[in-house]
Symmetry: C2
Subunit: 150 residues, 2 copies
Amino acid sequence: MIRLSTKGRYGVRLMLDLALHFGKGLVSLRDVAQRQEISEKYLWQLIAPLKHAGLINAARGANGGYALTRPPKQINLKDIVSVLEGPVCLLDCVNNPSACKRSALCIARDVWQETSRKILKILSTVTLENMVHKQKNKIKNWNQKSRKYY
Amino acid sequence: MIRLSTKGRYGVRLMLDLALHFGKGLVSLRDVAQRQEISEKYLWQLIAPLKHAGLINAARGANGGYALTRPPKQINLKDIVSVLEGPVCLLDCVNNPSACKRSALCIARDVWQETSRKILKILSTVTLENMVHKQKNKIKNWNQKSRKYY
DNA sequence: ATGATATCCTAGTAAATTGATAGTTATTAT
DNA sequence: ATAATAACTATCAATTTACTAGGATATCAT
């Protein structure tokens, strides 16, 4: 299926949470877990590869926690998804022609290759900064509505 | 993972095979299986939903077989993939807000919704006719090269 | 030093999905 | 009749997914 697993689903929410706190010190996993309503243990399994990929920093011990390694503007959905869900590549043969002996003459492969590239482009245009802005706007609008109707 | 299962992978090749024979009568599953090097039994599991979705017609009995119900120009990747892999929708909450109680205020959802729409658009721009043309060009070029070097 | 607070790491597992095979029945052209 | 072909059902091993459990290790505040 063309769909995200919970890794990508939760991972993006985790990274957005960190983005919302960027520049304000470290964020503990427990806090993220509570805000996002995701098990702390499960979140950790997402943290590990993200840290390994250099997207977040960690500080151990009391008052420890996590933070983005670079500004939200410089991290996009492609970065996050490819770490957590593997390379965005609709079929193995796209990145690795030897995965199928038909590769050389297969039109389907050409099409999937082109399509993969387009999807990748879409994902890389959405940054965490974009999402932070959207989040703030949404909350603002929601508050205005509340004032109006309640 | 953002990737296709073998259903979509084989299914598109199956439909392209039928497209290449469009207007030339029925094609038996055995022939497709041999040309595409895919098990006949497995192919049948793809045929069933495609037929049910109205993309192909079947004729039983001797000399029976399959054919596209409409010209290759009027069938695109979105049609095929959504039948075989389910709706192109990165997360359940995108089509069905009640799948997650955070839907109303979740920015991640908004972003995945927009992204799903863009991917859908990409898939619907590629028709079987496009693929048939590419296939014929590729074979032509390949033959020219052969004449040149061998 | 010590204890509280975090990160870090390894295993395990039930459920779902995937990819494929086998065998049987129904229908039609010849 | 019979050969060819679609239509259907059931099964199954392997993989992936989505978690959970239990602890080891590092760091800071006191």
